[in-house]
């Protein structure tokens, strides 16, 4: 089969590799119908995540059809159309039983690596380095899915793959970010980053009852998407002082909750931005934290900082003083996708949420290397790329556009 393989920094290729096999009675083999390139794939692409090996198959966002199941799989059958959550969860450990699915104790065979880095383990993730288990990813024609009964979620009949492919990661991730904000009537939620996850967070915050959502970014296409898809007010952080602008927009209080949908590759401005870039390049600081610092400064007293952007290592100059002085709550972590899926599938099937409106590009799998480059450089108004492993032909195809995207 064909698969998108990592070969090094800024080097992904579509390779011919062996088809996956059922190795456990709990496995299913899924024939991938659609798969996405995620913002966190760019961290791998940019070489910021350790333990990647040449030939690793990328991708953790994919949906498809079951073509084979292990003998212990009872909830699913060949022919079922399924959503595959990006975290791999065993369903049997204490964490899974307490709905902390992405913190599963048993799904990561390399758990000791994370334990040495972070002090404790995290579950496995498809196509996301050997720290997260070394599982092959979904940017391929077929994928072996462990713990099929636990992880998979059925796609209601009549709902096309396009509408649910973003439920594998970015919608539940954005939803969890908004959910963590404990939104009350009248609340304002500010979201740093109007990329795919940021847009999903704004969409979810609206759905959960936020009175206002404010999107912060520097790319006009993304700010426009936030306005159009999420009815957000927007701020371009290259044009205004974000903290001050947010204060002025909220009667001097600051947003009730602030969501960081940027993560470790934030682009800072001024001296602070240069400081972070230099330190990150020298590996003295692994994560650039300019967004995180702004969040802490801007948030209202007693508010919540909700972090969904990926951080991998250490950050400097974290404004601990602001956190303490203002009594802020900090919530973060990989999304517990399994927890939100049934509810979100229902919302999408009932057309109460329309995440697929942010998809801007649909490419054959073969075009993945070009897709990564385009997504990295935000070319051609690119917000979300969906890859189709079944499309044999080459050539790009713009997805049908939602209003104004």
């Amino acid at each position: 089969m064909r698969a998108v393989c990592w070969h090094g920094r800024h080097d992904v290729r579509v390779d011919e590799v062996a088809d996956p096999q059922i190795l456990s009675k709990n496995d299913a083999i899924v024939k991938v119908a659609l798969t996405c390139i995620c913002g966190s794939d760019l961290h791998l692409y940019n070489g910021y995540v350790p333990t990647m090996k040449k030939g690793d198959i990328l991708g953790h966002e994919f949906v498809g059809e079951i073509v084979e199941v292990g003998s212990r799989v009872t909830r699913f059958h060949v022919g079922d159309r399924v959503i595959v959550p990006f975290p791999i969860s065993c369903g049997a450990c204490w964490y899974c039983k307490h709905e902390l699915w992405s913190l599963c104790d048993n799904s990561n065979p390399n758990a000791w690596m994370l334990e040495h880095m972070y002090g404790d383990t995290g579950g496995g993730i498809f196509g996301y380095s050997h720290l997260y288990g070394g599982f092959a990813g979904g940017q391929a024609e077929y994928v072996r899915v462990p713990f099929a009964d636990v992880g998979l979620e059925r796609i209601p009949s009549g709902v096309p793959y396009e509408q649910v492919v973003l439920l594998t990661d970015i919608l539940p991730t954005g939803y969890q970010a908004a959910y963590y904000c404990n939104i009350n009537p009248g609340d304002t939620v500010a979201v740093w980053g109007c990329g795919p996850v940021g847009l999903m967070a704004m969409m979810s915050a609206r759905h959960l009852g936020a009175e206002r959502v404010i999107g912060i970014d520097r790319f006009p296409d993304r700010l426009q998407a936030a306005r159009a898809q999420c009815q957000a007010e927007v701020l371009n952080y290259e044009e205004v002082d974000v903290a001050e602008a947010l204060q002025n927009m909220t009667g001097g209080r600051g947003p009730d909750s602030c969501i960081d949908a940027v993560g470790m590759e934030a682009v800072g401005t001024g001296f602070e931005g240069v400081y972070d870039s230099v330190k990150q390049a020298l590996r003295l600081e692994t994560d650039r934290a300019s967004a995180l610092r702004q969040l802490a400064k801007a948030c209202r007293k007693g508010g919540t900082l909700s972090i969904v952007g990926v951080y991998a290592g250490f950050v400097d100059k974290f404004p601990m003083g602001a956190l303490f002085a203002k009594g802020l709550t900090l919530r973060c972590g990989q999304a517990h996708v399994h927890k939100y899926l049934p509810h979100l599938v229902k919302l999408v099937a009932e057309q109460q949420l329309n995440p697929s409106s942010i998809i801007t590009h649909r490419l054959p799998l073969q075009e993945a290397p070009m897709g990564y480059k385009m997504f990295l450089n935000k070319q051609d108004a690119c917000i979300k790329i969906v890859l189709d492993p079944q499309a044999g032909a080459t050539g790009t195809e713009r997805a049908p556009q939602g209003e104004g995207a």
Binding site: Q21, L23, C90, W94, N106, A111, F135, P146
Partner: protein
């Protein structure tokens, strides 16, 4: 953690007294080895081999530090304690919580022939009598070691301890305790193993194996035990059978 007199006398006013876990002979060697490691770490860094370079410098620094203080962060992280074992011995201690009652975890362990299913360095454990067993381990490069073991303590649902008997390639003793975890979390399994790598040229191969049986390996073993008991099998990230 209880403090010994020597720990107190070595502590500095600006530095919290720490436990010691590095024996005296090893402390001398640490001072020399640490400098070498840190140097080769720097060399790696200059070859843009950041990750391993940083790790080596960190490790090098740690060796220097433990030589001076008798405390080793790496040993602590690895669960190794060479101070509280007999001279030449290596103590490894690890714990894991498994979501099953102590009786069931004990039962699985008590059937010693189950051990190679999750202990990767063990090739086979053969039960030879009510309290005796024969163990076979393999190490790097296909070298192997064998020994007979005798169970000393066997309290159902609570504890099993054993020691090697006779001419063991790697003399060792160990114990595993099973304790009910609070809040319905299952069983806390705590394993303590002491190895005595033999000296001299003849013992070199066996020592290599003992070296491979470090705390990280034990930690991985216990995680596999947890997978087998909680999930029913070892988790694999492999894609194809070969």
């Amino acid at each position: 953690m209880e403090q010994s007199e020597s720990e107190r006398s070595e502590s500095r006013p600006w530095q919290r007294p720490r436990k010691m876990n590095v024996g005296p002979a090893e402390r001398k060697a640490s001072l020399a080895g640490g400098a070498a490691l840190a140097l080769s770490g720097l060399r790696n860094l200059s070859r843009r081999n950041y990750a391993s370079g940083l790790a080596m410098i960190a490790a090098g620094g740690m060796f220097l530090y433990r030589g001076q203080t008798g405390y080793c962060g790496l040993y602590d992280a690895m669960g190794v304690d060479t101070m509280h074992t007999q001279p030449g011995g290596l103590r490894i201690e690890k714990a894991v919580t498994i979501g099953l009652p102590p009786d069931e975890v004990y039962e699985f362990w008590r059937n010693l022939e189950n051990l190679p299913r999750f202990m990767k360095h063990l090739e086979a454990v053969e039960v030879t009598g009510p309290r005796t067993s024969h163990w076979k381990a393999t190490g790097p490069g296909g070298i192997s070691a064998e020994w007979d073991a005798e169970m000393m303590e066997d309290t159902p649902g609570q504890q099993i301890s054993w020691h090697s008997v006779g001419e063991a390639d790697i003399p060792n003793k160990g114990s595993v305790e099973f304790k009910e975890a609070p809040g319905n979390r299952g069983t806390e399994v705590r394993v303590t193993i002491d190895y005595y790598p033999p000296g001299g040229a003849a013992g070199k191969a066996a020592a290599k194996i003992a070296h491979g049986i470090n705390a990280q390996q034990l930690e991985e073993d216990l995680k596999r035990l947890k997978q087998i008991l909680e999930v029913g099998e070892e988790t694999t990230a492999r894609r194809t059978a070969d």
